[in-house]
Amino acid sequence: MAELCTNSAEISLGKLFSAVLKRDLLLSFRRKSDLVNPLIFFVMVATLFPLGVSPEPNFLADVAPGVVWVAALLATLLSLDGIFRSDYEDGTLEQVILSPQPLMVVCLAKVMAHWMTTGLPLALMSPLLGVMLFLPASAMFGMVLSLLIGTLVLSLIGAIGAGLTVGLKRGGVLISLLVLPLYIPVLIFGSGAVQAAVAGLPLEGYLALLGAMLALGIVLAPFAISASVRISVSG
């Protein structure tokens, strides 16, 4: 953080963004368990469905798009609390707010780092789940693509909830309450894209809607995230 706080006036927004991104990625690579836990959770949730509902291949192939998407959503939800938690506890977040750099850019970089350590690996690992759940091979590409776009939207929305609850000691369940209603549209269109891919229908429409949500999220969510962080830290 040292180079962030000193030469403050001259640092450009791009440099600020990449510095925060690099720092957050480095921190999460040094704590490997945080990196691996959501992935293990992702696989474990998907394992529960054949055991709990039915191991029938045809049935599993039918529910696979929804199961993969719900599992990805829950895994993202689980990791949200970590976006601001450690920075809040050691006072870094306070320093960032006090620094003259725009908080929005810092928040966007932190969300990006969160996505690169959870959403991106989840999307890359989803074909494994697809095979486990007998998803047809033709639908794999659509699934990965919809997860790549969708999980970034999930990270952006989720960071608002994480910012709002970072000042509370036990924010875990509360985050889910705040964020899940906002996740529903992403879930609908994300799993819709995979279902369309299974049925062999064009999925551009779904991906375009996910992309529209992403565009809206990137533009508007940083305002809400930085406002929520400011409220939590100053309160």
């Binding site: 309450l177 529903i184 939590s232 309160g235």
Partner: protein, 251 residues
């Protein structure tokens, strides 16, 4: 306040809790009488005199409770978000209190809209619940209200809770156009809007006039419950100020 001289005096004076308490005290009886009269007239008119529907017979009459509550649940959310934004921007205590008291009222009205919809759905669609776009987005509205209430409950610091809940309700505002247009965007089971301000309704006059009476009656009822809760909240939060002590001592 030189810049806002175009605003009527009573409007910006509402920002003072004490003045707001007195003002709502003057409005309350009028709204209470209007709500009682309109609701009684509307219920009697709707249930006894409006003609039965040519397809649905008498089961359509639950519309007279369902439509106003569905409209009101969304209006209440908008009020909550706008009041929250006003509190966030101009740091007006009364606006925070309005946003705070909106959440439980809105949640209960949303429950009413969902419940009356389910009761109507059973004879008409043959099931209590369908995963239809409008029904689901209404359910999400209820979840949003619950999230806001949970956030208020989780934070001890009142001003911080108000700010946080305002941010959340502003973010949740994206759901309102989704509910509004869900029936037009997705061709699902739920019929399109019963009422629009700009077009002539498709129903005969004898059918939609009682509905209009019910909608206005519901808004009056909502104003009454909002003001009652608001006055309660003003007293609770301002309990240490002199005028509240005097008020309590005089009663």
């Amino acid at each position: 306040m030189a810049g806002s001289s175009w605003l009527p005096r009573w409007f910006y004076q509402l920002a003072s809790p004490r003045w707001c308490y007195d003002f709502t005290g003057k409005l309350l009886p009028g709204f209470l009488i209007a709500a009682i009269l309109l609701l009684i007239a509307g219920v009697v008119w709707a249930l006894a005199f409006a003609p039965p529907d040519y397809q649905q017979g008498n089961s359509f009459r639950i519309m007279y409770l369902h439509v106003p509550s569905a409209i009101l649940a969304q209006s209440c959310y908008m009020l909550m978000a706008v009041a929250g934004a006003v509190g966030l921007i101009w740091k007006i205590k009364v606006a925070d209190m309005v946003a705070y008291v909106c959440a439980p009222i809105g949640a209960s009205i949303a429950v009413m809209a969902l419940a009356t919809g389910a009761i109507w759905g059973k004879p008409t669609w043959g099931s209590w619940w369908v995963w239809d776009a409008r029904l689901t987005s209404m359910l999400i509205l209820l979840f949003l209200y619950m999230g806001v209430m949970a956030l208020y409950a989780a934070m001890d610091n009142e001003s911080m809770a108000a700010k946080a809940a305002s941010v959340l309700s502003l973010v949740g505002l994206v759901n309102i156009p989704i509910i509004k247009y869900s029936v037009e965007w997705w061709n699902t089971l739920h019929q399109p809007a019963t009422f629009t301000l700009t077009e002539k309704p498709a129903m005969p006059v004898e059918m939609w006039l009682p509905l209009l009476v019910m909608v206005v009656g519901f808004y009056c009822f909502f104003s009454v419950s909002l003001m009652l809760r608001l006055r309660n909240e003003i007293i609770r939060r301002e309990r240490r100020s002199g005028w509240v002590r005097e008020l309590i001592a005089s009663k």
